[in-house]
Amino acid sequence: MVQNYVFPASVSEAVTVLSTNRGKARIIAGGTDLLLELQDGKHTCDVLVDLTQIAELKNITEDNGFIRIGASVTHAQAAKSELILQHAPALAQACRKVGSLQIRNMGTIIGNIVTGNPAADAAVALSCLNTIAEVTTQEGMQTMPLEDMYAGVCLSCIDSCCQVVTHVKFPVKQPGQGSAYLRMEQRKALALPMLAVSAMVSVQKDSFEWARVLIAPVGAGPQHAVDAEEFLKGAPVTPETIAKAGQLACNQAKFRSSAIRGSKEYRLGVLPVFVERVLEAAVANARQA
């Protein structure tokens, strides 16, 4: 049961509260998942350490060739941000899909990663952008690639009783690069993704220099469609190669049949189409500016 609720004014104050409480204090940002997990008894803690008053965590900035997102940036804020729309359309598209407007006004991008959900919209989009997290503890700050943050299905490597993910960052978009996100769902709001795909491509002279294609939920965190990525390296940008990449994505798609997300067979059937569409959208974005 929560006995105390505190608003540290800085990141160092937050980690100090965590360490003095030795595992009994936990970070809260948006809280849209955590509060339900506390109610369900999935976590217990005595102290909640709220990050939402820390000024340096509220913004999206461009910083040394990276776009950097603070821990209390919400989905609604990112979906409208000029920097995100320009450098990471995949992320803006993903943020518009989360929950409902009310949830997007509260839930944070970094919370979307730290909950460890394998098909969290923002996390799937951030994966194709080569995102790095900045993790602070009492000992100091470390960086960690987004893909290393998953310990299992719905399990994060981050221990919110001693670590704070203060920011995530990804490189600014270069000429010829583009990204996109797409998901399948049962209805247009308040629905979990049955299937989520994101892609980032670099197109030089009508060929793919490289492509990153991510699919979820097929394991612990978003997974690379490695066969499709390998095939696209140097391949011409044609409807045929894009269709082939869609087929190859099935090699890494270990779906499990689920009452909420749909059957394995159905999702395997639609995956190639979704990968094709997301690649087309990423190519269109790369060719835009």
Partner: protein, 165 residues
């Protein structure tokens, strides 16, 4: 468990109240302040019945820790009507038949108001995005969309006349 006194602006009036660190704002509004216009449906952020406007944004009161209300500006359905007349949204919900059982209505109106406070000429898409997090089991949503469009029009007409609603 130690209660703490927090202070916030509710429907225009600053007030103080003792809350516990584990309490949600929805429970403070309903059980402590007896403002039962804000409904509890799912209690999990999935139905929108508890929607309030928190610092200008629509949010689910069932997922806001009460402690976070410290210093906030909060509007609930109780503060929407003017002294002499209903808010245009309330009036158009009645006129257009957008209310049946009424359980979703306070939340719907708060979501719609958060939109119209910022945008008096919303597109159909924008209206759908704004109320997409509010579940209604009765009306089928069409009447609600029409009511919001109608209220937007009334607010625009009122702005032209120099009124202040």
């Amino acid at each position: 468990m130690a209660s703490q006194i927090i202070s916030f602006r509710l429907n225009g009036e600053v007030l103080e109240i003792a809350v516990s660190p584990s309490e949600m704002l929805l429970d403070v509004l309903r059980e402590k302040m007896h403002l039962t216009g804000t409904k509890r449906g799912c209690g999990k952020g999935e139905c929108g019945a508890c929607t309030i406007i928190f610092n200008g944004k629509a949010m689910n009161a069932c997922l806001i820790p009460a402690m976070r209300a410290q210093g906030a500006d909060i509007q609930t359905i109780e503060g929407v009507a003017g002294p002499d007349a209903l808010h245009p949204l309330q009036q158009s919900f009645i006129d257009k038949g957008a209310v049946q059982c009424g359980f979703c209505t306070p939340g719907m109106i708060m979501s719609a108001k958060a939109l119209l406070d910022k945008n008096k000429s919303p597109s159909k898409e924008e209206i759908r995005e704004a109320v997409g997090g509010n579940i209604c089991r009765c009306t089928g949503y069409i009447k609600i969309e029409e009511a919001v469009e109608d209220a937007a029009q009334a607010l625009r007409a009122n702005a032209v006349q120099g009124g202040d609603l």
